[in-house]
């Protein structure tokens, strides 16, 4: 965050001041409190606060009067009024008098966070508009995007330029190239960074699940829907929604998606109230959307709506110079994770890696390095530790580990994920089983 935002809380109740103080300190704001309007006004004479969050009913001077006097001070502070249900009318009056917004006590955590983030965004925007022109912004949250090659530098340049805009982005690249990392980098460097980045893996969900996932549902929309539930578009309000494997969505969902993108409005499944949400959309796919459009399997209008900017991540085989950097990165990552001293890689092994064509891209390289650290001698990664012999027969993944993973999963499913029974059947203790579940990232089917 470029500039720390300051907040003044004005409330006569100590418990309210304390709770809000803690809440906002954890959110990274600079916070001070005042117990009444008089104290607040005298603090404001000596010091600027970006946001003032004030109760409306206080002994002595009330929040409305204080708001008027703050306006008279001619500061740029944003004033937000806190009110109980009974005084909502007064709060509406405060809005007419130029208060930024109001909240009703007690607040939903979500509502409060959103409100302050909105105010913070406005302040940051004003500050950044001043600074933006001459400044070269350093990219944030790109530590795990590894690569010094020209194609990767180009990708990062594109991230930087697109982050500042609000355009829809389609990230293309073979599987394993790290499309989600690029989506995160765009979000973290945009003005939407204060709001959530919400990811949806479209390929993993059936049409009806995807629909309720994206749009939410109302109580009673289908069996089991006993409560209202927010959808991903609603959650992404103010932020970014990342739709992975966009090419997999059904024709019906394509139409619905198009409608939402055009209007930024939708209704929850089983509901009739129109909800609007301000989100930016980033999609990813390993398919060629353009040719899907030509074949008629992907809507042309949707394609143009999504593909305002295209960022293509080159496959690993087109940037072999990045391989040594990546290998170092993964060695460090896995040696630390396994509590081992960092090991090195034999010259010859590295050379072979640089010549390998990596159909599974960076993810495949990562898996190879992890595996090599596990099976190797603990000092050096040798080429014999790497499953590179693709010419022999294509069974390099039929390792004992893979067998173990599949077997554990079968046993877990057989015993309904009862850990004790499964551990007994496998003849291992429960801790070992937990560690294996974690290691192989096994998930209980829903």
């Amino acid at each position: 965050m470029s500039k720390q935002i300051s907040l003044l809380i004005v409330d006569d109740e100590e418990s309210v001041r304390d709770s809000l103080y803690n809440w906002f300190i954890e959110d990274g704001y600079f916070v001070e409190c005042a117990e009444d309007a008089k104290t607040a006004l005298s603090m404001l004479e000596n010091k600027h606060f970006d946001i003032i969050l004030t109760d409306i009913k206080m002994p002595g001077m009330d929040g409305m009067e204080m708001h008027r006097r703050i306006k008279a001070l001619n500061t740029k502070s944003i004033v937000i009024i806190m009110t109980a249900f009974a005084t909502v009318d007064t709060a509406v009056q405060a809005l007419k008098d130029g208060a930024f917004d109001y909240v009703t006590k007690p607040f939903d955590p979500d509502e409060l966070t959103h409100l302050i983030k909105n105010a913070a965004k406005q302040i940051t925007l004003e500050a950044e508009n001043v600074a933006l022109k001459e400044k070269f912004v350093d990219l944030e949250n790109v530590d795990d995007i590894i690569g010094n090659s020209e194609p990767m530098k180009q990708v990062l340049r594109e991230v930087m330029s697109v982050a500042q805009s609000n355009s829809s982005v389609v990230i293309t690249g073979e599987s394993g190239t790290g499309k989600e990392l690029i989506a995160r980098a765009i979000h973290s460097n945009s003005q939407r960074k204060f709001f959530p980045l919400v990811s949806v893996h479209c390929g993993a969900l059936s049409e009806s699940l995807l629909e309720s996932e994206l749009f939410g549902h109302e109580k009673g929309a289908f069996t089991g829907a006993m409560y209202n539930r927010k959808g991903r578009f609603e959650m992404a309000d103010g932020g970014t929604i990342f739709l992975d494997e966009i090419a997999t969505i059904s024709p019906k969902m394509q139409i619905e998606l198009l409608r939402v993108l055009e209007t930024k409005k939708f209704v929850r499944v089983g509901g009739n109230k129109e909800i609007s949400s301000d989100f930016r959309v980033i999609c990813a796919t390993n398919r060629d959307l353009k040719s899907m459009v030509e074949k008629g399997t992907f809507r042309e209008d949707l394609y143009y709506r999504l593909n305002v900017v295209n960022i293509n991540i080159p496959p690993l085989r087109e940037r072999p110079d990045d391989i040594p950097l990546l290998v170092d990165f993964f060695i460090k990552k896995y040696c630390t994770a396994m509590n081992k001293a960092n090991i090195s890689i034999e010259e010859n092994a590295l050379k072979k890696l640089k010549e390998f064509d990596f159909p599974g891209n960076v993810r495949e390289l990562e898996n190879m390095i992890e595996r090599a650290i596990v099976i190797g001698d603990g000092k050096k990664i040798r080429s014999s530790d790497l499953p590179l012999a693709k010419d022999a027969f294509d069974s390099s993944y039929e390792s004992l580990e893979d067998l173990e993973k599949v077997h554990i999963l079968q046993i877990l499913n057989k015993y309904g994920w009862n850990i004790s029974q499964s551990a007994k059947a496998l003849k291992v203790d429960r801790v070992t089983l937990y560690n294996k579940i974690k290691k192989y990232d096994l998930k209980q089917p829903e």
Partner: protein, 183 residues
């Protein structure tokens, strides 16, 4: 050696608890102890809100923390509130020694969906690590999918991972001399 103590109040699933102890220990690289707490929960119940006062509960947990422990988390299975907010999942003293977290609103059933043990475990673990992060002095982070992202509803929790991002790790190393294992 810096120890973490988890104090449970009320009954927790043994399997969930055992797994939590082992995973938090291995993720943070610190020994994790478990204690069973005994308090009369009715003293913290607000009949009007039908919820439990998290500000008072955290003081009780803080007072009953073992003196030789580094950080303490009180674990509950009740609906927590603080005066100004309609609910919270948990809270902690920033840079302090104590935090609390509750399973209650992390359950799928609470939202009318099918129970999911694995998902519940993940959510609870992230919530515990998040609050511990606050006791380590970490504030909310803007780098998805870092565990220190602020989460105001469950689906937010599902969007993040259970580990700290590089920036948060660096901060821990510099400010607290805590060196965490990579995830």
């Amino acid at each position: 050696m810096q120890t973490i103590t988890l104090i449970t109040y009320g009954k927790f699933d043994t399997e969930l608890l055992e797994r939590m102890l082992s995973e938090i220990a291995s993720d943070l690289g610190m020994p994790v102890k478990h204690l069973q707490g005994h308090i009369d929960m009715s003293e913290f119940y607000d009949a009007g809100r039908r919820q439990y006062d998290a500000n008072r509960l955290i003081t009780v947990v803080d007072a009953s923390r073992p003196k030789d422990t580094f950080k303490t988390m009180g674990l509950f299975d009740v609906d927590l509130y603080i005066p100004i907010l309609t609910y919270i999942f948990g809270q902690a003293y920033l840079n302090g020694r104590t935090g609390i977290a509750s399973l209650h609103r992390l359950k799928n059933e609470y939202y009318g969906m099918k129970p999911n043990k694995q998902l519940l475990f993940n959510r609870f673990k992230k919530e515990i690590i998040h609050e511990l992060g606050h006791t380590f002095g970490l504030k909310h982070c803007h780098h998805p999918p870092c565990v220190m992202l602020s989460s105001t509803y469950v689906e937010d929790i599902d969007q993040k991972e259970s580990h700290f991002c590089q920036q948060c790790r660096d901060e821990l190393r510099m400010n607290q001399q805590i060196i965490l294992r990579e995830f």
